[in-house]
């Protein structure tokens, strides 16, 4: 079609609307996935604050145990798990690993990702608990 014709006819462009992500379950869960960044960021900032607080010396240190904090963590946890689950699954799908010149099935890669998650969690958990008193 010539450029002239393109301008000669009017088209209608339906507006997208900021609420597009409410139209479909898949879009909604995508937005939830992206939103996980916010609670996780807040939780890490708390951790950073905790570390900084330890630097003020032994006299004023008290362990973190307010109910509000537990509730905050409990809210963050599902977001963290959702992030882990989606990220590892999607990363597993897109990664291409060749073993002996044969491409590895993505199911195997996803399983490996989840396995790594499990091992990392056990190791970190063991350190956090093992050095506790």
């Amino acid at each position: 079609m010539s450029a002239e014709a393109e301008t000669a006819t009017r088209t209608y462009r339906p507006p997208m609307g900021a609420g597009w992500w409410t139209r479909k379950g898949h879009y909604f869960w995508y937005m939830v996935r992206e939103f996980t960044a916010l609670p996780l960021a807040l939780w890490l900032l708390w951790l950073l604050y905790e570390i900084q607080r330890a630097g003020r010396g032994p006299s004023g240190y008290y362990p973190p145990n307010s109910t509000a904090f537990v509730i905050f963590s409990a809210i963050c946890l599902p977001f963290a798990l959702y992030h882990s689950f989606t990220f590892l699954k999607l990363a597993g799908v897109i990664l291409r690993v060749k073993l002996l010149d044969k491409p590895l099935a993505s199911g195997v890669i996803v399983a490996t990702m989840f396995g790594t998650w499990l091992v990392a969690s056990v190791v970190v958990g063991a350190v956090l608990i093992g050095f506790g008193r």
């Binding site: 079609m1 010539s2 014709a5 393109e6 000669a8 006819t9």
Partner: protein, 570 residues
């Protein structure tokens, strides 16, 4: 008045058209090419071709056998010099497609693989799984994008060939988007508009296959050759007409009737499922008539059975068939037989053209299904048509490029007048017409059903004569059609009306050509003349338009070189 002017104009954006356009700029990179297509090129019906493209590539194979298979398949109606040139060019074109990126299926050593096909004595059908046409079309279309000399006019419908001083100098086309009429001029025009399957009700052809190019040429005074030769493919899905590729039989599928019997042993005992399409379609029709077909909600059918091939072979060689079965019939071909019945598939006939696509009208060329270069005769062998599009598309492109180096540019004065006349004609006939009450859809459906009955697998004098009367009545009713769509923007109803006008024209030619050929040859099977008659009809029918209802028919000798006609048994 100034018009967009090119050196070569290609009408049609399928495999033959795009191949021709590329051939023009390869022959001379300074040439400006226009490609006018009523759809975006990748929608062209080449996309639906499944099985493969024939070419002699394996050392065990030979040009002679490919030529002989093609000529025997044509029931000796092919021009043998054309076939001999074709079989030599086909491998070069298949390699060219490979260089352009076509994902041909391969042998373990990385060479292009081949599969057996109906009527071919050896494996020579190159394939890209079972989406060969799709892959070839997208490959050649995407490759064409690198040539800035090719200017596309997508979704522009050509309504008339511009003829000035006895030579073709362009087309009048309506831009679908704006509804604007334009004269697109060029020193040469290549028609590559594809087939006319929509003349029939039960067809594998897409909605766009309406014989436009044939009608355009016919109206410009060019003859249509061998139009009685309409191919019926044995294996279409009932109701939709979706094609189940011959490759299913090539890979070892069985055709069985309701008694579970491989009935082809009575018709083509030596080739069985690898017999040619015309004979197998007749065999199936005969079985139906004798009560050995399955009865279904959409008519009689046979079983095409690939269950014994196993899932691995099906998934590597016939994945699209499995997809189609799942998607459109709700069966898994790994576990269920496929219901099939004969379906209109291809037009052997077409615009009278020679080995280089040259038509009798100076400056006009034709290639692909819309042309008849003399390759397919009375029956085309499966997988010859994709190769034909490449070989003769390229030939027409080269020939046109050569011609335009010495041709002068069309003058704008007569073109301006012709554009005005054509615009006035269409406006009067369709857009500004008042008082009509006939629906396009109704006339089209009646034409299609009448063609199915009157000009189907088997024909008779009574049937064909009745059909000419029906078509005449429909033509009269067409004069009284009503266009409800008054908009200029993307008026598909106007396009459908013009397509129907073209279809009524070519349907007439099919019918009169079939009526006059009083013998049975290839796909043209007359109940009243069941034998081939070489003494009278080893000839091409060439139909010319007259002011009368019926065309004027001429006969032209078939060119025989090395293969004397003999009985055609398989």
């Amino acid at each position: 008045m100034d018009f967009e002017s090119y050196d070569v104009l290609v009408v049609g954006g399928g495999l033959a058209g795009i191949r021709a356009a590329i051939a023009v700029v390869e022959a001379n990179p300074r040439l400006k090419v226009a490609m006018v297509s009523k759809v975006y090129p990748m929608r062209s019906h080449t996309v639906s071709a499944e099985g493969g493209a024939a070419a002699v590539l394996r050392p065990e194979d030979s040009y002679e056998t490919h030529a002989f298979d093609t000529i025997k398949g044509s029931d000796y109606l092919a021009d043998q010099d054309v076939v001999e040139a074709f079989v030599r060019e086909a491998p070069i074109e298949v390699i060219q497609m490979e260089h352009w990126g076509c994902p041909w299926s391969r042998e373990p050593d990385g060479k292009i693989s081949a599969r057996p096909f109906g009527g071919m004595t050896t494996w020579r059908t190159c394939f890209a799984a079972d989406k060969t046409g799709f892959h070839m079309l997208h490959t050649v279309f995407q490759t064409s994008l690198k040539f800035d000399q090719i200017h596309r006019h997508d979704e522009a419908f050509a309504t008339k060939l511009l003829v000035e001083d006895g030579r073709c100098v362009g087309v009048v086309a309506i831009d679908m988007r704006s509804g604007k009429f334009d004269a697109i001029t060029a020193k040469a025009v290549i028609l590559a508009t594809g087939g006319l399957g929509r003349v029939y009700a039960f067809t594998t052809n897409g909605n766009i296959c309406t014989g436009d190019g044939m009608a355009l040429a016919y109206r410009a005074g060019v003859g249509l050759k061998d139009m009685e030769m309409v191919q019926f493919h044995p294996t279409g899905l009932p109701f939709t007409g979706i094609l189940i590729t011959e490759a299913v039989r090539g890979e070892g599928g069985y055709l069985t009737n309701k008694d579970g019997e491989r009935f082809l042993k009575r018709y083509v005992p030596n080739k069985m499922e690898l017999g040619p399409r015309d004979i197998i379609s007749r065999a199936m029709t005969t079985e139906f008539e004798e009560g050995r077909g399955f009865e279904g909600a959409h008519g009689k059918y046979m079983h095409l059975d690939v269950r014994h091939l196993g899932e691995a072979v099906i998934d590597s060689k016939l994945p699209f068939m499995r997809e189609l079965g799942r998607e459109f019939v709700g069966i898994d071909i790994v576990h269920d037989p496929i219901p099939v019945r004969p379906v209109q598939h291809y037009m052997m006939g077409g615009v009278d053209a020679d080995i280089s696509g040259v038509t009798p009208l100076a400056g006009l060329y034709a290639a692909g299904e819309c042309a008849n270069v003399g390759l397919n005769g009375g029956n085309r062998l499966g997988s010859n048509s994709l190769s034909e599009c490449l070989v003769f598309g390229a030939a027409a492109g080269r020939q046109a490029a050569d011609y335009v180096s010495s041709a002068r540019a069309p003058g704008s004065n007569p073109v301006g007048a012709m554009l005005k006349d054509e615009t006035a004609r269409i406006e009067a006939a369709y857009l500004d017409k008042k008082g009509g009450d006939e629906r396009i859809g109704a006339i089209r459906e009646e034409m299609q059903l009448a063609m199915d009955v009157g000009a189907g697998v088997f024909r008779t004098r009574e049937g064909l004569e009745k059909l000419t009367k029906q078509l005449g009545t429909l033509r009269d009713r067409f004069e009284k059609i009503k266009i409800e769509d008054s908009s200029r923007t993307f008026n598909t109803e106007l396009m459908a009306a013009m397509e129907l006008d073209f279809m009524l024209e070519v349907a007439d030619v099919i019918t009169y050509s079939a009526l006059a050929r009083e013998e049975s040859r290839g796909a043209h099977s007359r109940r009243d003349y069941p034998e081939r008659d070489d003494a009278k009809y080893l000839k091409h029918t060439v139909a010319f338009r007259t002011d009368d209802i019926s065309p004027r028919l001429e006969y032209r000798d078939v060119r025989i070189t090395n293969f004397k006609p003999q009985a055609r048994t398989y």
